[in-house]
């Protein structure tokens, strides 16, 4: 389990505390990419599956970094997206969710090492749904989990293999991840709650 980057100065931004800025996110992803290669002895069997919405750009960034280290990797076979909406256990408790895209790389999942990529790891229920979704799509040799932020409060026996930053939070707080691709800038913010 990684220890994450040092805490930067907290500053008020949009009435929220920025706990990770662009450089920290960048460094965390680079470190995770190296950890993935180290743990799996190279990237040849690795498939990165981003969970929409923000897991997907993170998975793409990780793929870029894996290829930077191992130029032989095929980007088309390395990264995909996995929508878990239809496998969630909380569908009946929320307004109807829009279904995202699932895009499995051409090589399939059988025998591969799947690394699930999500922005925030919280209750673990999204990952539980993702594991169910994967079992309908193939039989990977192993499934690992990478999360940019682990904010604790797990409700299921699930842990991340690669963590950008462990972020102790209270349940009344909200963690928001902003990414260049969808939000125009990179940042992790905490708002709400009593800090």
């Amino acid at each position: 389990m990684s220890t994450g980057t040092p805490t930067p100065e907290t500053r008020v931004d949009d009435d929220a505390n920025v706990v990770l800025g662009a450089p920290e996110i960048n460094r965390a992803l680079t470190r995770i990419a190296h950890e993935i290669l180290e743990r799996n002895k190279g990237g040849s069997d690795v498939v990165l599956l981003g969970i929409p919405t923000r897991g997907l750009p993170l998975a793409r960034r990780l793929a870029e970094r894996l290829i930077a280290v191992e130029p032989g990797l095929d980007p088309a076979l390395l990264v995909g997206s996995l929508d878990v909406t239809m496998y969630r256990d909380d569908l009946a408790h929320q307004p109807t969710r829009t279904i995202g895209a699932t895009d499995i790389p051409g090589g399939g999942l059988d025998g591969k090492v799947v690394v699930l990529v999500d922005d925030v790891l919280y209750s673990g229920r999204t990952i539980r749904a993702a594991l169910d979704a994967i079992s309908d799509l193939g039989r990977p040799r192993a499934v690992q989990l990478a999360a940019l932020v682990d904010r604790g409060h797990r409700e299921l026996p699930i842990r991340a293999d690669y963590v950008g930053k462990n972020l102790p939070t209270s349940t009344s707080e909200r963690v928001r991840v902003l990414l260049e691709e969808s939000d125009g800038r990179d940042a992790v913010l905490i708002d709400g709650g009593t800090r």
Partner: protein
């Protein structure tokens, strides 16, 4: 959206959302394991007062692919043939805990009655009522049209703006035509109805569509992007059946789609038919089997569209379905 009763109730955003969801559902149907756990524990009742094979099977497949329990109820051989009313049938189904009722009825408005009467608390989906509406058929037609004609590239989020669709045949008796006219108009397409004067309803001038009596003129002048052939029932020819047209041959000569008329269509145009087809009457075998006919694909798309409708009506909680969870919301339960 609590019920799906008529395509006239849908606005552009609703319709595009159903089509987009259908696209996601269709993608799952290309997998080896087609079943999804989404509606586990929900019960869908197929309540069919009128004979139907493809629509019932399509709904049943859609519900089962989403892991819902399906109860098929057809009027034949049930207590309805002993004189039970729609109300008592509905109360019985409510007592069995139906989360959704898919109803086909020979009386126009029966689904509306079921939805508004309070006899059942479940979602009501109209699978064809009298000469009124058949919304899932129109949705699957729109989905098929969008897939082929709204491109190039990813069609997600698009409507049918700028497309011209000819609907040809027995418009008077067709709930498919009524549903399509409203939905295609809502999605921005231009609809031309082509039929003999006897097979057009009174008041068709008020529909959001143009009307023509001449198929050849429409094909030559309007260059439709798609042509939808409606089923014509042979029994409507006889005087006992209403005497709507003098002979099948005359109908075929003036309104049937054959190889010659197919050649008049623009290169990209596609041919739709809701089925079941009368080969040799409204559509020739050449046209039905041509590469531009998407009739078999319509059946496959029907399952995806019905999965989407069931998902959107049944998956969410008590909050209105329209208030979709914003995708850029904070992670509440990641």
């Amino acid at each position: 959206m609590k019920h799906l009763l008529s395509t006239a109730d849908l606005d552009v955003a609703d319709a595009v959302r159903i089509l987009d969801t259908a696209g996601s559902m269709a993608a799952t149907q290309a997998r080896e394991i087609k079943k999804l756990p989404t509606l586990r524990g929900r019960t869908v009742v197929n309540l069919f007062f009128e004979d139907s094979t493809r629509t019932r099977i399509s709904f049943e497949t859609a519900a089962k692919r989403l892991s819902a329990d399906v109860i098929n109820f057809s009027a034949k051989g049930s207590s309805v043939s002993k004189g039970e009313s729609l109300k008592d049938t509905a109360l019985t189904l409510q007592a069995m805990g139906a989360d959704a009722v898919v109803i086909r009825h020979h009386a126009s408005g029966a689904p509306h009655t079921l939805a508004t009467s309070g006899w059942t608390h479940g979602a009501v989906i109209n699978a064809g009522d009298g000469m009124h509406q058949h919304p899932t058929q129109a949705l699957l037609d729109a989905y098929t049209l969008r897939r082929h004609l709204a491109g190039p590239g990813d069609v997600t989020g698009r409507d049918l703006t700028g497309l011209r669709i000819a609907i040809v045949g027995d418009v008077l008796h067709s709930r498919v035509a009524r549903s399509n006219v409203h939905l295609l108009h809502t999605l921005g397409a231009e609809v031309v109805l082509v039929a003999p004067p006897t097979l057009l309803p009174v008041g068709v001038g008020a529909w959001p569509a143009r009307v023509s009596y001449h198929l050849d003129e429409v094909l030559a002048d309007e260059k439709p992007d798609a042509i939808m052939m409606l089923r014509v029932q042979r029994e409507r020819m006889s005087s006992a059946g209403g005497g709507f047209f003098p002979s099948p041959l005359e109908y075929t000569r003036r309104y049937g789609l054959d190889a010659r008329r197919l050649a008049l269509l623009p290169e990209h145009a596609i041919v739709l038919h809701p089925g079941p087809m009368n080969r040799g009457l409204e559509i020739s075998a050449d046209a039905a089997d041509s590469t531009r006919a998407v009739i078999v694909e319509q059946v496959a798309n029907g399952v995806a569209v019905r999965m989407a409708v069931l998902y959107l009506l049944l998956a969410g909680g008590d909050a209105p379905a329209r208030a979709a969870a914003p995708t850029d919301d904070m992670k509440v339960d990641a």
